[in-house]
């Protein structure tokens, strides 16, 4: 099982991608898709640095729901600012957020969420510490951002990715 299907989630995603791309459920397409889904993870296994074990699907769903809501809310926020706020009064700032998250996959997911949310762009992890540099479109209260990212995003990601290796 683990030899021929090293990562079942990736295989399922590949199969679904193939079927969506061809828009059919015929046996032939299913067969080709299954071949792709089995061959691609085995062939690309040396490229993946280490496998990730994902636990707690409920926490993941809650995180996805929250970030979706946040994306929609801040989209309307940003469009309101672009349309109606005087641009000279805009307070665009870099802020610094101390992170406890160390897992590279967790950091990748965090950067995806933060960059997908309009109004915030991830710049980099500061070279001398584990602090995150973030650019905020219209900053009112830096502490609110630190609090929000640490409790809403970082805490669930630590729960999801850093259970096995504390």
């Amino acid at each position: 099982m683990s030899r021929w299907l090293p990562s079942p989630i990736l295989s399922a995603a590949l199969l679904i991608m193939w079927l969506l791309l061809n828009q059919s459920l015929s046996p032939g397409q299913l067969l080709i898709g299954a071949l792709l889904a089995i061959a691609a993870p085995i062939l690309s296994r040396p490229l993946r640095p280490f496998t990730v074990v994902v636990k707690k699907p409920m926490v993941m769903l809650r995180l996805a729901g929250w970030s979706l809501k946040e994306i929609i809310r801040s989209s309307f926020n940003v469009s309101r600012i672009i349309l109606f706020t005087r641009h000279e009064h805009l307070n665009s700032q870099f802020i610094r957020i101390p992170l406890d998250l160390r897992d590279p996959y967790g950091l990748a997911v965090l950067s995806c969420i933060i960059n997908s949310t309009p109004g915030t762009v991830w710049v980099e992890i500061m070279p001398d510490s584990n602090d995150l540099a973030l650019h905020v479109f219209d900053l009112h209260d830096a502490n609110w951002w630190v609090e929000m990212i640490k409790t809403r995003y970082e805490q669930p990601l630590i729960e999801i990715f850093e259970q096995g290796n504390p």
Partner: protein
């Protein structure tokens, strides 16, 4: 070059029209932000709404439309949204980092090691 004659059922047509209107307005506002905002670090945030909400709305509308047209569930627009969900953050982060590094080299912004803000513009700390 004429529009195909279409007949969607009402319960599909109403969300389709609303989503398409919202999506195109959001796209326009994002591009307007790109055009009108004064500095690069503000202009980065304009296209973000185009890419996330604008594209999302148009993709949902397209899904509804083709599902109604072919009277079966058409889901292959999900591929584009999944792809954009993975790649759009990478693009915006790479452009942001390119800009920050260029400005660091040119001395237009300064990296701080111990402060609440991580970078600052020289001259803006005097007031």
């Amino acid at each position: 070059m004429s529009v195909v004659n279409i007949d969607l059922p009402l319960w599909l047509a109403v969300p389709f029209v609303l989503l398409l209107l919202l999506g195109s307005l959001i796209i326009l506002i994002g591009a307007l932000g790109l055009l009108r905002l004064p500095s690069f670090y503000q202009r980065v945030h304009g296209p973000a709404i185009t890419i996330t909400l604008g594209t999302g709305c148009v993709l949902l509308a397209s899904m509804l439309y083709f599902s109604g047209l072919e009277t079966r569930l058409v889901l292959h627009e999900l591929l584009i949204s999944a792809f954009l969900l993975l790649t759009a953050p990478v693009t915006s982060m790479m452009i942001m980092r390119a800009s920050v590094y260029r400005d660091l080299r040119a001395g237009r912004i300064i990296r701080e090691s111990d402060a609440s803000e991580s970078y600052r513009f020289p001259g803006s700390n005097d007031e």
